[in-house]
Symmetry: C2
Subunit: 499 residues, 2 copies
């Protein structure tokens, strides 16, 4: 193909034009159609995918979904109105363009039918090869077809739930004067100090000539694209702290990454986190717990009231129960007292069989993390904040409590939810430079690497804190989907990346 030259060549070329409509309108979605005075029987055009189809002699019923509603709309196609050969070709998975009217349904299970006047097949689908049949598939089969999985009722409902949760998160934090920010995902810092991170390098090596004169220092004898080794962020916290020193209250909903070599139903290599950070007037956990509880109650309220999410996950039991409960707040030390009482009362004793009468789980030990069995027990009735864990099992940035008793604790918390376990973790941050330096040194960390973070304590510091919430776990809690891999469109985990 030879490119033409100059404008003399142009006159011979076909040209198109796109005019802007006087009133800007997109075609109706099924949701909009159902919401727009359907009794008026206005002729309208829809596009959608056939979820299932029943062909009878005189009439064909096709369940049509465009993803805007939890239940498909039943299209009624009368054979005499349309070409039988066209109707014959339609199968589950086909995409159609339908023109017709919404009419009161004579059938059971739906209020409205879509009475089809004109029909155009946009795309056929071979039912023998199509991996998404009407029958129930295993989650494993659906994950192996991650590009088609969103077409199932369950996954599309999950995706609408994510959108709803996202919206209600932003509504809450915006209304509480938090500024939504976008911290970097490529970073030179590793927040936890010992995370399993991913390394980021250019896919191709740079030509030597391009490096001349540029400030690209080397690491291990190789040039670094950014001048320093680059990793994917495991948490936005440190950057949020910097931003909170300007904007006072900040939040973000963005991916985080962990190169964890585990294949549990609780872990993803790429997952979304809600993280928030706020300046405080005193170094107290109270306001942070208030924000966590306030935001979650607001999100649960939006979820239980929404018809979008509700209809597929009709009970919304967990969210509703959390809304109706009082959320306890208890120190780690008190929690251990309660757990020991429960052990005394035989809660953790195996009632029958071999080992009968013995504790199934060991008693909790002060100074160690809580076992998941213990977390489940503490959150058996309602969400519970467990606060003030021992300093030794927590990261460097958590604020040391000032009580004189030893071993010391830090002003931190986990929020445990019934049936789920930890959803949120957070703390007051150590804003006192001498304490921060001591914590870094105690953990054998390099002060120079945290020079900019220490600067935040050197130039006009203030008490502040925040938290991180695992978004897929939130989706899991409200939908009841137990595996976080069903709570994200395209899950990434160790050994697994389809699509």
């Amino acid at each position: 193909m030879l490119p033409g030259r100059g404008h003399r060549f142009l006159a011979s070329r076909a040209v198109r034009s796109y005019s802007r409509p006087a009133a800007y309108v997109l075609p109706h979605t099924i949701k909009q159609l159902l919401a727009s005075s359907p009794e008026n029987e206005i002729t309208t055009t829809l596009t959608g995918f056939v979820r299932s189809i029943r062909k009878q002699k005189h009439v064909t019923f096709a369940d049509i979904s465009d993803g805007s509603t939890p239940f498909p709309l039943q299209a009624v196609i009368e054979s005499e109105k349309l070409d039988p050969e066209v109707i014959q070709k339609i199968t589950s998975g086909s995409s159609l363009k339908l023109t017709g009217k919404l009419t009161k349904s004579a059938g059971e299970g739906q209020e409205w039918d879509f009475n089809v006047g004109e029909l155009e097949i946009l795309g056929l689908c071979d039912p023998a090869a199509y991996p998404i049949q009407k029958k129930t598939h295993t989650h494993e089969h659906l994950r192996a077809n991650a590009h088609l999985r969103p077409r199932t009722d369950e996954t599309s409902a999950m995706l609408r739930t994510r959108a709803l949760l996202t919206r209600s998160i932003c509504d809450y934090f915006d209304s509480e004067q938090f500024v939504q920010v976008h911290p970097p995902l490529i970073t030179s810092n590793d927040t936890e100090g010992a995370g399993e991170t991913f390394r980021v390098t250019p896919a191709s090596d740079p030509p030597e000539s391009e490096l001349n004169g540029l400030d690209v220092s080397t690491s291990e004898g190789k040039p670094e694209f950014f001048g320093v080794p680059a990793h994917l962020s495991v948490s936005a916290q440190l950057h949020l702290e910097a931003l909170s020193h300007s904007l006072s209250r900040v939040y973000t909903l963005a991916p985080s990454f962990r190169a964890e070599r585990s294949q549990t139903n609780r872990h993803l290599a790429e997952f979304w986190m809600l993280e928030a950070e706020l300046q405080l007037s005193t170094p107290s956990l109270g306001p942070i717990l208030d924000v966590v509880e306030g935001s979650l109650r607001s999100i649960f309220d939006a979820y239980t009231r929404s018809t979008d999410a509700m209809v597929r996950f009709p009970e919304a039991k967990a969210a509703r129960h959390a809304l109706e409960s009082e959320w306890r707040r208890m120190t780690y030390t008190h929690a251990l007292e309660e757990l020991n009482r429960a052990h005394d009362e035989g809660v953790f004793i195996k009632p029958t069989g071999k080992g009968k009468g013995k504790d199934i789980v060991p008693r909790p030990v002060w100074g160690q993390g809580l076992r998941s069995e213990h977390e489940r027990y503490l959150a058996r009735d309602a969400p519970i904040f467990v606060t003030d864990y021992p300093a030794d099992i927590k990261p460097f940035y958590m604020r040391l409590n000032e009580e004189t008793s030893t071993p010391p604790t830090v002003a931190c918390f986990d929020l445990l939810l019934p049936g789920l376990g930890e959803l949120v973790g957070g703390s007051v941050r150590e804003e006192r430079l001498d304490y921060l330096d001591a914590a870094l040194k105690q953990r054998g960390m390099d002060l120079d690497e945290f020079a900019w973070y220490r600067d935040l304590r050197i130039y006009g510091t203030g008490p502040h804190g925040g938290f991180g919430l695992g978004f897929e776990r939130l989706v899991s809690f409200v939908t009841g989907l137990e595996n976080v891999r069903e709570c994200i469109a395209f899950p990434r985990a160790f050994g697994r990346m389809k699509v």
Copy 2:
């Protein structure tokens, strides 16, 4: 430090408690205080940072910012009310906790003062060392102090602008029935087929023992964490296409990554993109252009009406002008005609000096991309959509136009803005399998690598399309900040990663 054992140890340990307030309240931000009946002179407590300070004999004026407003609030500190030694210590950059009342200002330039009754220094700041002085700094100096840069008026206004734009983007797309989705950032696909991508690998090698029995195949003789080579996403488009086949209309605002070894003011290695995809009833660009224009007009409208963003970037000239303009829609072929006419009329002719009378830029050539000078000319008065570029210079996924003339064009567009150039690019996608396969083959690409993408055409395809919008360029356009590095909190570019 010995961990305690069992609950007998616990009684001796100090415990804390956090009770939930009856009514959940965070302290006022300055913005909230100014909005809440300030004439009532209610005593309230604020925390904030000193932007500048003037000490007089009897009174000290300190400009206080908490990032919630474009202009700081003037705190009036009367010497007789407070300890002079404390007042003496306050400098620019210090953080304070102030209790007092809002009162009508006697001074010029502000309506309200904050009359301080009590004062507590939360954090001091050494003015000799503090890198953020009141004087104007170069952007380069501020970028080198990326952790403190958000404390400047310009950067905090930019950050509030990002939040405002994010909010208005979501408002628009939610109202148009688009579902906000979260496509993966780690991917095995490279959308453009020849992008400069980043490679993702675990920072540490897995122990051989952990690989046993797991489906982790190898690449170039080394195990891959995900079983296949992993890259950072250059665009969410292909995944959005899959999701649009379920949800019909989807959008996302998320980071994209390019390992571009350039250091211009238009490029970042990590940047945010708004991307949207929608199913269409016919394969026409029209509705896509409508969504782009509709969303941007809605965003510009929100921006020009907002006092938050407006006051720091007072004119909002570019956004206002775009709102008042008609946006032209013109094919590439017509655009070349217009450019050639302009050349004929001497628009691109150098008027004086050496080379006088000659075209400064070469005439456009059909079949090649537009030069930035030509883009600027086309968008000299108002935003303009340039559509239907030659197929040969566009990626495989764009839909081939059906006119018979050759060389062929594709149903795509760029939106060019005055003073900025390209802000948005998009297209109708090639939904016809045979055309798609031909386009892939013509570019020497492997059909097997796109098996899942081809599946979208095999199982119930339909016409669809979408676009991507560079979020930092949008920030640049509305704020007038010319370098995209000033339009993101922590810029990442070749050879540059501070903080």
